[in-house]
Amino acid sequence: MDALLLVFLTPLAGALVLALIGHRAYARDLNVVFSLGTFLAAAALTVRIISDGPLFALDKQFFIDPLNVFLVTLTAFVGLSTSIFSRPYMRVEQDHGKMTPLRMRLYFSMYQLFSFTMLVALMTNNMGILWVAMEAATLTTVLLVSIYRTPASLEAAWKYFILCGVGIAQALFGTILLYMAADRVIGDSADALLWTNLEVVKMQLDPTIMSLAFIFLLLGYGTKVGLVPVHNWLPDAHAEGPTPISAVLSGLLLNVALYAVIRCKVLTDGALHSPFAGNLMIGFGLLSVVAAAFFLSRQKDVKRMFAYSSIEHMGLMTFAFGMGGPIANFAGLLHMTVHSLVKSAIFFAVGHAAQQAGTQIMEDIKGLIKVTPSVGWGLMLGSLAILGMPPFGVFASEFLILTTAMRELPWATPFLLLALGVAFAAIFSRVQEMVFGQTALKPLAHPPALLPVFVHLGLALMLGLYIPPYLDVWYRQAARLIGG
């Protein structure tokens, strides 16, 4: 209980403090300290869960179960490493005159507030609060996307706000319908939206209302997951915002939105006794994987290319959870973990590379390995990992998803393989040119923070070779919980 409160009170306190003193030189260290505090609290919480099992807090409004425990730790961990990465990154941006003291204050305080909203969304038991936290996560990042005030970044932020706003409004309508279905079974009480209560009575929820509710919830939260055709905001927001924000958007926010979809799917499956929800997710997932792979091969901007790669991977996870069953769910959860580790590592490397080149256009970034070998290697290894090369964890999860697809949905496998092949060819050839080749780049004024890159890749490598026993147990329990 105490650890749980600390997990979200630390970033909240951080947001308040940094809103006041974010412009000072030591604010970037303070940002790391607050993120470290959040991570330590999350680690303490995890240790307690390992020894005591799932828990409730604050009158059952917050809870930790096998499905969200590893996501909380992952979110706190990536939040910490991104804050370490943003120390030198933001210093360089300040030297380039892109960040004024006021913008630094905004950046740091919104960074902490963003962590806060995501952690609340993950730990809340109340489907209404989940919606409120998801909307708040958009609100906190929208000003960060436009922080450079360039025409392109303003456009990206406006699109982000309006599209996600409309999307999240649909999710609110879905939540209202969910409450209506719950109202008929549980009664008109404030606890009728608690997920644990709904889970108990999910068999009795009205199928007509629940199927309509799920369509709205999937479209709504799916906008934030970045599912095609409601993905338009995602590449722009990733490309135009500061790179640390691209890293947390891709690595964390998309996961949290998918987590919301999964929670809703469990309830819908219980009410409908049919694979309706799963089929919808399979359809959207497959479309996202294929469309994103082709969009990706036509990009010139490195951050846009990796943003499309995120859409592809989120589509793959949605597809996996749509198929359901213990193996596909297990693979989906594993893919969530490794994707967010690897993708944020790639964005760290890309951020430093783009700063060296002074541009995000891939043609102008060449020969990274000669100027700063660590950045070049980080980008190369990260790309190989995200493309599903063994022995990284992405290989394991993609292998499981593909073999399940061959058994359950043989017709879908060629599309998946085609998309993965196109993505491989596109990303690998581009990254090779960026890493090797002749160069005129200069090293950075402040040494880049590459520890996070290699720690993330190391963890992704470890998950490909060996999954710690308690993580394995959680994945299995969560996979059973999702069912399908």
Binding site: L139, L154, W158, I176, A190, P235
Partner: protein, 219 residues
């Protein structure tokens, strides 16, 4: 008496739908804000009527919250915004108003069909109005699509929120209080951020025309 009030709720619902159509075709920004305020007021009135018939006390609180937010605070902020941006008397050129209205009517028919099977499952006294709530939701959505200026787009967004609040009273007796507070906070912060945003957009583009924001195309 109760029957009369149920009729009254239906009347309010009809007014809300009419206002949604009026907003869809309104070209003056100032009138648009007046219409939005009026729509908020009607939503509050119908919520109070539902609360009175059913003795659901928490609905009074949420009606009061909506009154403060949608009828006073947000319209006040919008008025300040259009004064400071000097767009108070702006008139937007809307093409094809008759076509937009016709599509709107199709949307209403679609919404009633969508609401028919679920509305009869609702326990709320205002269940007949669920179709209208969905229709208003879709009409506001269409308003956002058809507008090229920033302020009308935002008003469309807010009117969508009105429709959702109305849907919550017609589907059930409103959302739990803590959720409503959270939604209200999100809406308020959203309006403030959009206000900041509009100044940034104007500073960059010398205009509030969203059609300038089409540089980032899919390629």
């Amino acid at each position: 008496m109760d029957n009369l009030i149920t009729q009254l709720i239906n009347l309010f619902a009809a007014v809300i739908l009419m206002l949604a159509f009026a907003m869809l075709s309104q070209r003056r920004i100032l009138t648009l804000i007046h219409l939005f305020t009026l729509q908020g007021l009607t939503v509050v009135a119908s919520t109070v009527a539902v609360a009175y018939v059913t003795h659901q006390h928490h609905l009074y609180y949420s009606a009061a919250l909506t009154l403060a937010l949608k009828c006073f605070l947000i319209p006040y902020l919008l008025h300040r915004l259009i004064n400071r941006l000097n767009v108070r008397w702006d008139i937007e050129t809307l093409i094809n108003i008759p076509t937009i209205m016709l599509i709107g009517i199709v949307l209403v028919v679609f919404s009633f069909n969508l609401a028919l099977p679920i509305a009869k499952l609702s326990a709320s006294i205002a269940r007949g109005t669920l179709g209208i709530a969905i229709a208003c939701f879709l009409l506001s959505f269409m308003m956002m699509i058809t507008r090229a200026k920033a302020v009308p787009q935002v008003i469309g967004f807010l009117s969508m929120e009105n429709a959702l609040f109305f849907a919550a009273t017609s589907a059930t007796y409103g959302m739990p209080m803590v959720v409503e507070l959270g939604i209200a906070l999100d809406v308020l912060v959203g309006v403030l951020i959009l206000g900041v945003f509009m100044f940034q957009i104007r500073e960059q583009f010398d205009s509030l025309d969203i059609s300038h924001l089409e540089k980032l195309k899919e390629d």
